[in-house]
């Protein structure tokens, strides 16, 4: 039991962060507005959680200009993918 709780990642405690990870795991990359549409959250809320995940190095952002407008796209890092899978596995085992 102790080991399982260790595997549960504190970074994924909130629903929004779980949502971000889920959406980015199945998509190569998504920009800010697509993520917002998918998760149906406010700008500020999404930005805060994205920043947090970036700080954990679970998500990487890429800034570019599309039609002269700034466009930031996000992708999950190898570290983030690994942590996310570990987290899901821990949940599954706990429920068994």
């Amino acid at each position: 039991m102790k080991k399982l709780l260790q595997d549960l990642d504190k970074a994924f405690e909130t629903k929004v962060r779980l949502g971000i990870m889920a959406a980015l795991t199945v998509n190569e990359s998504l920009n800010f507005s697509s993520l917002k549409d998918i998760l149906e959250v406010t700008d500020g809320n999404l930005a805060t959680h994205l920043k947090f995940l970036e700080k954990c190095q679970y998500v990487a952002s890429h800034k570019e200009f599309l039609n002269k407008k700034p466009n930031t796209s996000y992708a999950v890092t190898a570290l983030g993918r690994e942590a996310f899978i570990k987290h899901i596995k821990a949940i599954e085992q706990m429920l068994n």
Binding site: L18, A22, A23, T25, N31, I38, L39, I88
Partner: protein
């Protein structure tokens, strides 16, 4: 208590994954329209060439210039009308329901669809212009099936089954080239119409 939160978490993850990738819902009208045109094309080809020639075997079929011209007149309209009507209905449906679909996702779906389709189409074109019509029938079915399977990730609809059936028919058409045009007609005509009808009844229920 704890358990309930985690069960909710898991279903949330699953829901987001589905919503964010399988967001494009296609319409049954696409395969029905393409299927009808495919069936007509196959029937015309059968009655104009294959019935008279009978068994053609594995040999390279040599057609006279005149025959080639008639075949060209049949193949291109079938291809353009079939592909065009299928795409038209798909795009209309996507535009009508584009609320939560990012243009990026639509772009990715079409790239996934067209890479195998164009590669296969060019391969078939080379074979066709060299007179290997027998191979074109089977290969076009196989490449079409691969293209469909490649887009499965992006749509709600179970397009993978149709893709697999097209591949099986394509391989059978290659194995039994004498009946190639019949399998082609089943694959591009009958099968697509049936699939489209199933999709339509599913979405309206």
């Amino acid at each position: 208590m704890e358990d309930k939160k985690y069960i909710e978490d898991l279903s949330h993850i699953k829901e987001v994954m589905n919503r964010s990738s399988r967001s494009i819902s296609l319409t049954g009208l696409s395969p029905i329209a393409a299927g009808i045109i495919g069936a007509i094309g196959a029937y015309l080809a059968y009655s104009m060439f294959f019935r008279d020639y009978g068994a053609m075997g594995y040999e390279k079929l040599t057609l006279s210039a005149e025959h080639m011209q008639t075949l060209n007149l049949l193949v291109w309209p079938t291809l353009v009308l079939g592909l065009g009507s299928g795409l038209l209905f798909a795009l209309l449906k996507i535009r009508r329901s584009s609320r939560n679909i990012s243009p990026e996702q639509i772009r990715r779906m079409f790239v996934n669809l067209f890479v195998p389709l164009v590669a296969g189409g060019l391969a078939c074109l080379v074979l066709f212009t060299n007179g290997y019509i027998i191979f074109v029938l089977g290969l076009s079915l196989i490449f079409y099936g691969l293209a469909l399977i490649n887009t499965d990730k992006y749509t709600f609809d179970d397009i993978k089954t149709l893709g697999l059936l097209e591949i099986i028919l394509g391989l059978t058409a290659l194995y039994l080239p004498d009946y190639g045009i019949i399998f082609w007609g089943i694959g591009f005509g009958l099968l697509q119409i049936i699939y489209g009808l199933i999709m339509q009844t599913k979405s309206s229920s």
